[in-house]
Protein backbone atom coordinates (compact mmCIF):
# COMPACT_ATOMS: atom_id res chain seq x y z
CA UNK A 1 0.00 0.00 0.00
CA UNK A 2 1.19 3.38 -0.73
CA UNK A 3 2.31 5.71 1.96
CA UNK A 4 -0.21 7.91 3.63
CA UNK A 5 0.31 11.18 5.31
CA UNK A 6 -1.52 12.37 8.37
CA UNK A 7 -1.76 15.53 10.35
CA UNK A 8 -1.84 14.90 14.03
CA UNK A 9 -2.77 17.72 16.36
CA UNK A 10 -3.27 17.47 20.05
CA UNK A 11 -4.03 19.99 22.74
CA UNK A 12 -2.55 19.70 26.21
CA UNK A 13 -3.74 21.40 29.33
CA UNK A 14 -2.12 24.82 29.49
CA UNK A 15 -0.54 24.15 32.87
CA UNK A 16 1.45 21.19 31.61
CA UNK A 17 5.14 21.84 32.09
CA UNK A 18 7.24 21.88 28.95
CA UNK A 19 9.20 18.71 29.79
CA UNK A 20 5.96 16.78 30.11
CA UNK A 21 4.90 17.89 26.68
CA UNK A 22 8.21 16.78 25.29
CA UNK A 23 7.65 13.45 26.98
CA UNK A 24 4.28 13.04 25.32
CA UNK A 25 5.80 13.89 21.97
CA UNK A 26 8.53 11.33 22.58
CA UNK A 27 6.04 8.60 23.46
CA UNK A 28 4.02 9.38 20.37
CA UNK A 29 7.13 9.17 18.27
CA UNK A 30 8.06 5.85 19.81
CA UNK A 31 4.64 4.38 19.42
CA UNK A 32 4.58 5.46 15.80
CA UNK A 33 7.97 3.95 15.15
CA UNK A 34 6.88 0.70 16.76
CA UNK A 35 4.01 0.35 14.35
CA UNK A 36 6.00 1.29 11.31
CA UNK A 37 5.04 4.92 11.01
CA UNK A 38 7.34 7.85 11.09
CA UNK A 39 7.02 11.36 12.37
CA UNK A 40 8.09 13.81 9.73
CA UNK A 41 7.96 16.96 11.75
CA UNK A 42 6.89 18.25 15.11
CA UNK A 43 5.74 21.78 15.53
CA UNK A 44 4.78 23.24 18.86
CA UNK A 45 2.31 26.02 18.36
CA UNK A 46 2.38 26.75 22.04
CA UNK A 47 -0.38 28.15 24.17
CA UNK A 48 -3.31 29.34 22.19
CA UNK A 49 -6.75 30.51 23.06
CA UNK A 50 -9.32 27.95 22.05
CA UNK A 51 -12.52 28.85 20.27
CA UNK A 52 -14.60 27.23 22.96
CA UNK A 53 -14.13 25.80 26.38
CA UNK A 54 -12.67 22.35 26.74
CA UNK A 55 -12.64 20.80 30.19
CA UNK A 56 -13.57 24.22 31.47
CA UNK A 57 -10.39 25.73 30.14
CA UNK A 58 -10.06 28.51 27.63
CA UNK A 59 -6.48 27.92 26.64
CA UNK A 60 -4.52 24.98 25.45
CA UNK A 61 -1.05 24.01 24.38
CA UNK A 62 -1.17 22.96 20.74
CA UNK A 63 1.23 20.49 19.22
CA UNK A 64 1.15 19.71 15.53
CA UNK A 65 2.91 16.81 13.88
CA UNK A 66 3.07 15.29 10.45
CA UNK A 67 3.05 11.53 10.32
CA UNK A 68 3.72 9.15 7.49
CA UNK A 69 2.72 5.56 7.49
CA UNK A 70 1.70 2.81 5.16
CA UNK A 71 -1.11 1.42 7.25
CA UNK A 72 -3.72 2.84 9.52
CA UNK A 73 -2.95 0.73 12.55
CA UNK A 74 -0.58 3.42 13.73
CA UNK A 75 -3.35 5.93 14.04
CA UNK A 76 -5.43 3.63 16.15
CA UNK A 77 -2.59 3.09 18.55
CA UNK A 78 -1.65 6.75 18.72
CA UNK A 79 -5.20 7.86 19.33
CA UNK A 80 -5.55 5.29 22.08
CA UNK A 81 -2.44 6.62 23.73
CA UNK A 82 -3.52 10.21 23.46
CA UNK A 83 -6.87 9.32 24.90
CA UNK A 84 -5.43 7.76 28.02
CA UNK A 85 -2.84 10.46 28.44
CA UNK A 86 -4.06 12.78 31.13
CA UNK A 87 -2.66 16.15 30.05
CA UNK A 88 -4.07 15.75 26.56
CA UNK A 89 -7.46 17.36 26.30
CA UNK A 90 -8.19 16.95 22.63
CA UNK A 91 -6.62 15.48 19.55
CA UNK A 92 -7.33 15.25 15.86
CA UNK A 93 -5.86 13.09 13.14
CA UNK A 94 -6.55 13.94 9.55
CA UNK A 95 -5.41 12.06 6.51
CA UNK A 96 -4.04 14.61 4.13
CA UNK A 97 -2.12 12.81 1.40
CA UNK A 98 -5.05 12.75 -0.97
CA UNK A 99 -5.62 16.45 -0.68
CA UNK A 100 -1.95 17.14 -1.15
CA UNK A 101 -1.99 15.01 -4.24
CA UNK A 102 -4.94 16.94 -5.54
CA UNK A 103 -3.16 20.17 -4.84
CA UNK A 104 -0.12 18.96 -6.74
CA UNK A 105 -2.28 17.99 -9.66
CA UNK A 106 -3.89 21.40 -9.92
CA UNK A 107 -0.55 23.06 -9.65
CA UNK A 108 0.95 20.98 -12.43
CA UNK A 109 -2.07 21.57 -14.55
CA UNK A 110 -1.83 25.29 -14.08
CA UNK A 111 1.84 25.35 -14.88
CA UNK A 112 1.27 23.43 -18.05
CA UNK A 113 -1.43 25.81 -19.09
CA UNK A 114 0.69 28.81 -18.29
CA UNK A 115 3.47 27.35 -20.35
CA UNK A 116 1.23 26.77 -23.31
CA UNK A 117 0.07 30.33 -23.69
CA UNK A 118 2.46 32.68 -22.02
CA UNK A 119 0.67 35.88 -22.86
CA UNK A 120 -0.12 36.87 -19.30
CA UNK A 121 3.46 36.92 -18.12
CA UNK A 122 3.32 33.96 -15.78
CA UNK A 123 0.66 34.03 -13.10
CA UNK A 124 2.12 34.78 -9.74
CA UNK A 125 3.96 31.64 -8.71
CA UNK A 126 3.58 32.17 -5.01
CA UNK A 127 0.49 30.30 -3.83
CA UNK A 128 -1.52 32.74 -1.78
CA UNK A 129 -3.69 32.37 1.28
CA UNK A 130 -3.67 28.89 2.61
CA UNK A 131 -2.39 27.61 -0.65
CA UNK A 132 0.47 25.83 0.88
CA UNK A 133 0.50 23.06 3.33
CA UNK A 134 3.79 23.49 4.99
CA UNK A 135 4.55 23.21 8.64
CA UNK A 136 4.68 26.95 8.84
CA UNK A 137 3.43 27.75 12.27
CA UNK A 138 0.26 29.68 12.52
Amino acid sequence: MEERQYDLIFICRPDTPEPDIDKIIATVEHAAADKGGKIESVNKWGRKRMAYRVQKLREGYYVYMVLKSTHGEVIKELERRLKVSDPVMKYLTVRVDEELKRQEKFKRHRERRAARRPRKAAPAPAPPVGGEQTAAAV
Binding site: V94, E99, P128, G131, E132, V138
Partner: protein, 114 residues
Protein backbone atom coordinates in the same frame (compact mmCIF):
# COMPACT_ATOMS: atom_id res chain seq x y z
CA UNK B 1 -26.23 42.89 3.73
CA UNK B 2 -24.19 45.38 1.91
CA UNK B 3 -25.35 44.97 -1.60
CA UNK B 4 -27.98 47.63 -1.80
CA UNK B 5 -25.73 50.52 -2.44
CA UNK B 6 -23.83 50.91 -5.60
CA UNK B 7 -20.14 51.35 -5.26
CA UNK B 8 -19.36 53.56 -8.20
CA UNK B 9 -17.03 51.18 -9.79
CA UNK B 10 -13.76 52.92 -9.82
CA UNK B 11 -12.02 52.61 -13.12
CA UNK B 12 -8.70 50.85 -13.05
CA UNK B 13 -7.04 54.15 -12.28
CA UNK B 14 -4.08 53.64 -14.47
CA UNK B 15 -4.79 55.00 -17.89
CA UNK B 16 -5.38 53.01 -21.02
CA UNK B 17 -2.90 50.27 -21.50
CA UNK B 18 -2.03 50.42 -17.85
CA UNK B 19 -3.37 47.00 -16.96
CA UNK B 20 -0.02 45.41 -17.37
CA UNK B 21 1.09 42.12 -15.92
CA UNK B 22 1.23 43.58 -12.48
CA UNK B 23 -1.31 42.73 -9.87
CA UNK B 24 -3.57 39.75 -9.55
CA UNK B 25 -5.61 39.86 -12.70
CA UNK B 26 -8.76 41.95 -12.77
CA UNK B 27 -11.33 39.96 -10.89
CA UNK B 28 -13.27 37.89 -13.38
CA UNK B 29 -15.37 40.25 -15.40
CA UNK B 30 -14.54 43.37 -13.48
CA UNK B 31 -16.64 46.04 -15.03
CA UNK B 32 -19.34 43.96 -16.59
CA UNK B 33 -22.35 43.81 -14.29
CA UNK B 34 -24.71 46.63 -14.09
CA UNK B 35 -24.32 49.49 -16.43
CA UNK B 36 -25.24 53.09 -15.81
CA UNK B 37 -26.90 53.15 -12.43
CA UNK B 38 -28.15 56.68 -12.80
CA UNK B 39 -31.67 56.68 -14.19
CA UNK B 40 -34.63 54.93 -12.67
CA UNK B 41 -35.83 55.15 -9.12
CA UNK B 42 -34.33 52.12 -7.61
CA UNK B 43 -31.96 50.41 -9.90
CA UNK B 44 -29.95 47.92 -8.01
CA UNK B 45 -26.70 47.14 -9.56
CA UNK B 46 -25.52 44.04 -7.96
CA UNK B 47 -21.84 43.72 -8.06
CA UNK B 48 -20.88 40.30 -9.19
CA UNK B 49 -19.26 38.48 -6.36
CA UNK B 50 -16.21 36.54 -7.18
CA UNK B 51 -14.91 33.52 -5.40
CA UNK B 52 -12.03 34.75 -3.31
CA UNK B 53 -10.26 31.46 -3.50
CA UNK B 54 -10.44 31.41 -7.28
CA UNK B 55 -8.98 34.89 -7.47
CA UNK B 56 -6.09 33.82 -5.33
CA UNK B 57 -5.89 30.47 -7.07
CA UNK B 58 -6.09 28.35 -3.98
CA UNK B 59 -5.69 24.63 -4.52
CA UNK B 60 -5.98 23.62 -0.94
CA UNK B 61 -7.79 25.22 1.94
CA UNK B 62 -5.83 24.66 5.07
CA UNK B 63 -7.96 23.94 8.11
CA UNK B 64 -5.09 24.95 10.37
CA UNK B 65 -5.29 28.58 9.37
CA UNK B 66 -8.30 29.76 11.28
CA UNK B 67 -7.78 33.34 10.20
CA UNK B 68 -8.54 32.59 6.57
CA UNK B 69 -11.62 30.58 7.47
CA UNK B 70 -12.98 33.10 9.92
CA UNK B 71 -14.54 35.45 7.34
CA UNK B 72 -16.71 32.58 6.15
CA UNK B 73 -18.54 31.94 9.38
CA UNK B 74 -21.27 33.97 10.96
CA UNK B 75 -21.05 35.65 14.31
CA UNK B 76 -22.85 32.72 15.79
CA UNK B 77 -20.47 30.26 14.25
CA UNK B 78 -22.54 29.09 11.32
CA UNK B 79 -20.95 28.56 7.97
CA UNK B 80 -21.97 31.27 5.51
CA UNK B 81 -23.78 30.09 2.41
CA UNK B 82 -22.32 30.58 -1.01
CA UNK B 83 -24.90 33.13 -1.97
CA UNK B 84 -23.53 35.45 0.68
CA UNK B 85 -19.86 35.03 0.08
CA UNK B 86 -19.75 34.33 -3.62
CA UNK B 87 -17.53 31.32 -3.18
CA UNK B 88 -17.63 28.90 -6.08
CA UNK B 89 -19.03 25.46 -5.48
CA UNK B 90 -15.75 23.65 -5.52
CA UNK B 91 -14.14 25.96 -3.03
CA UNK B 92 -17.21 26.03 -0.85
CA UNK B 93 -16.99 22.26 -0.65
CA UNK B 94 -13.39 22.40 0.47
CA UNK B 95 -14.13 25.27 2.77
CA UNK B 96 -16.87 23.41 4.59
CA UNK B 97 -14.59 20.51 5.28
CA UNK B 98 -11.83 22.81 6.44
CA UNK B 99 -14.14 24.72 8.77
CA UNK B 100 -15.47 21.52 10.28
CA UNK B 101 -12.00 20.26 10.94
CA UNK B 102 -10.99 23.53 12.49
CA UNK B 103 -14.01 23.34 14.76
CA UNK B 104 -12.92 19.95 15.92
CA UNK B 105 -9.67 21.17 17.35
CA UNK B 106 -11.13 24.33 18.78
CA UNK B 107 -9.66 26.69 16.25
CA UNK B 108 -13.14 27.83 15.32
CA UNK B 109 -16.26 27.77 17.45
CA UNK B 110 -19.16 25.43 16.84
CA UNK B 111 -21.43 28.08 18.23
CA UNK B 112 -20.66 31.40 19.78
CA UNK B 113 -20.59 31.46 23.52
CA UNK B 114 -22.80 33.86 25.29
Amino acid sequence: MSEGHVPQQAPPASGPGGGGPSGPRPQGGGGRPGGPAKRGKRSFVRKKKVCRFCVDRVDFIDYKKAEILAPFIQERGKILPRRMTGTCSRHQRWLTVAIKRAQNIALLPFAAEL
